[in-house]
Symmetry: none
Subunit: 230 residues, 2 copies
């Protein structure tokens, strides 16, 4: 699994429209949540922070612009406005509130998908801060180069192993239970067993521990999970 699927939240009172959009987005590999009024939209954004929000302007129970404003305060996700209104006024109002793009109805689902993709790419590119390599004792992990060495010797890790090690390495000594590891390394929408982590840990140990039977880097904490170091 390369990268966790992006989560898109649709806030749109017309179920039919919402369903069509969902269909297209899911076909493009996104994980989609729908909300059918403004309040529900905010609610959903809180419980499951999305990577992007598609927001209808005309909503029951709370105006789209208000939702937009509050979303802006509460989460980082970019917003694509969706509406039948199409005057310059409305567009400006939306953009001013921080919408990242604006699509007027009727729209083509494919166009919307294209915009979703474009917006996500733009915002992803924004945070290209150089990530410093992580180290712990003899362990060295460079996220930018996707390279791991143990005492100077390169180790070939699979994507999942790499992710898990990175998570542990970011907070040496911190204890993670399996759920936390799964969520951070495999993505929030992973739907497998926690126990899978065990296998990855084992494979990791085989690759980075001098003696996999007496691990010194990745410790097991009985009944809880794993941590790096003492």
């Amino acid at each position: 699994m390369a990268i966790a699927r992006r989560r898109v939240l649709i806030v749109e009172d017309d179920h039919k429209t919402a369903d069509i959009v969902r269909l297209y987005l899911e076909r493009d590999g996104y994980s989609v949540t729908s909300a059918y009024d403004g309040m529900a939209g905010l609610e959903a954004a809180r419980t499951e922070p999305p990577d992007l929000v598609i927001l209808d302007l005309l909503l029951p129970r709370m105006n789209g612009l208000d939702v937009c404003r509050r979303l802006r305060n509460e989460c980082e996700a970019p917003i694509i406005m969706l509406t039948a209104l199409s005057t310059e006024q409305d567009k400006l109002a939306g953009l001013e509130l921080g919408a990242d793009d604006y699509v007027t109805k009727p729209f083509s689902p494919r166009e919307l998908c294209a915009r979703v993709k474009a917006v996500l790419r733009r915002t992803a590119e924004g945070n290209d801060a150089p990530q410093p390599p992580l180290t712990y004792r003899d362990l060295f992990l460079d996220q930018e180069r996707h390279a791991v060495t143990v005492g100077g010797i390169a180790a070939h890790l699979t994507p999942t192993e790499f992710q898990i090690l990175a998570v542990l390495l970011k907070e040496p000594g911190r204890l993670f239970n399996r759920g936390q590891l799964v969520e951070r390394a495999l993505g929030y929408d992973y739907d497998g067993l926690d126990r899978t982590v065990d296998v990855h840990i084992r494979n990791l140990r085989r690759k980075i521990e001098p003696d996999p039977d007496a691990p010194t880097y990745i410790r097991t904490v009985y009944g809880i999970g794993y941590k790096l170091g003492p």
Copy 2:
């Protein structure tokens, strides 16, 4: 030593739009000056030479195209045209006068920021001292001549192959996923499949790898993307 902040000049008669743009650009770390008509724009460009100009086409006191023409004569700064007009005609007129990019209203501020960034990146490369050729081991790539040699032997690359290789060569060892490669080599508004990169990589390997079946220059990182060298 911190690099001086880039200076952006906005020439736009609608204060509201200008303010929004300023907001976003400043958040991205630019130093922003606003001018609200053509004359003022030229004035500002003279007193405080900007690194980039965002120029509305419809302006009081002097047409945007005229401003563009005169700016071109007086300073080096690249220009991004901003306008409600969107016919192919207008676009061509703008680009012919030396605009470096063209955004039609209504536009998303984030998109504009992305374009600003892209244009600055492009021109920073073009304007500065003659760009040193890129090399890695036996690879030699001259961006000005658009020439590539491997161990002294010329390789005939297509434009896309050339771009991809250049991107990789600028940061040897750094891992790029397909999206990043697409964005840097084909442009951020590309709307095709990421997997197209695979084909280009394959063609590249066929041209520059001694043994394309055991690549030594362009490495595949399973589940993520590609990188140059170890």
